[in-house]
Amino acid sequence: MSHPVTPVESDGMQAFISARQSDILHRSIEVVRDCPDDQLGAELHRLAGRLGTFQLLDAYDLVRDLESVVASGDPSLVSAARADSLAKLQAMAITGALESGAGA
């Protein structure tokens, strides 16, 4: 999947985005884990826009894929895809935290 955002920003904007990525990723996990099924499609759509704009591009791809599954309307597929996406997002958060800690 191609990414729509080219991260060519000012140093200030780049720092602004980097400082918020971890928090946004953790709140994304909460959405995927806790959002009621009937609101999930709309929430994922909003979430994708936020993740992409904040340059969390792997998470953006993941959420867009999950959004496609939700749009298909098959509850069994949605449940499995949701669990898989949640695990991958959590792994991204852990990896990000480790990289952040290593760089500190």
């Binding site: 000012s10 200030g12 904007m13 602004f16 918020r20 994708a48 992409g52």
Partner: protein
Amino acid sequence: MSETILVIDDDADLRELVTFALTESGYQVVEAPDGPAGISQYRVHQPDLVVLDIGLGSMDGLAVCRQLRAIGTTPIVFLTSRAEEVDQLIGFAAGADDYVAKPFPPRLLVARIGSVLQRGRGADMVKTRFEVGPLTLDAEARVATANSVELDLTRTEFELLSILMENPRRVVTRSMLLERAWGSWYGDDHVVDVHMSRLRTKVKAASNLHIGVSVRGVGYKLGVDSTS
């Protein structure tokens, strides 16, 4: 003095990011988390441009856009995750000047805002005289002509023609026409149709031109046709 941008978005993260990007570029920024607050801030601050999210909560961005258009002609840039073409068309019909889809690079948004403001500054320089095909209108002299024939218009008809000529390629909503010609109006908006019909009749009688194309459910666009 720097230009003021009103940012209306219920996503606090994106609102903060847009505010940062615009402030970094030298703009003053006013924020609002929903439609009613945005309209309130608009009235207080009279911004030079509005960045408006379509997917707001109880009052969506299209409704907010229509209300803002009824109040004034400040440029509006939609910021939205609904990138499908039909949504863009609806956005433009509601009065948007440009459209940026999420996710977006902040630099792109700032560039688009700068471009829209630049177009607005250019428009300000010629805002009292308009010429569209065989129609001319001088807002200061209060004179309008069609095929060089001066039109005998009432104040309301002149205002309706003015707003159509100021926006020759845009559909002008009924609420914009009502606000411009009547100010606050609480009655049936079909009053617009009645006066538009009279305006068309006068233009037709004076010049054999047909103007004012109705766009069902939205409003009117100018349209100038000498064949009918």
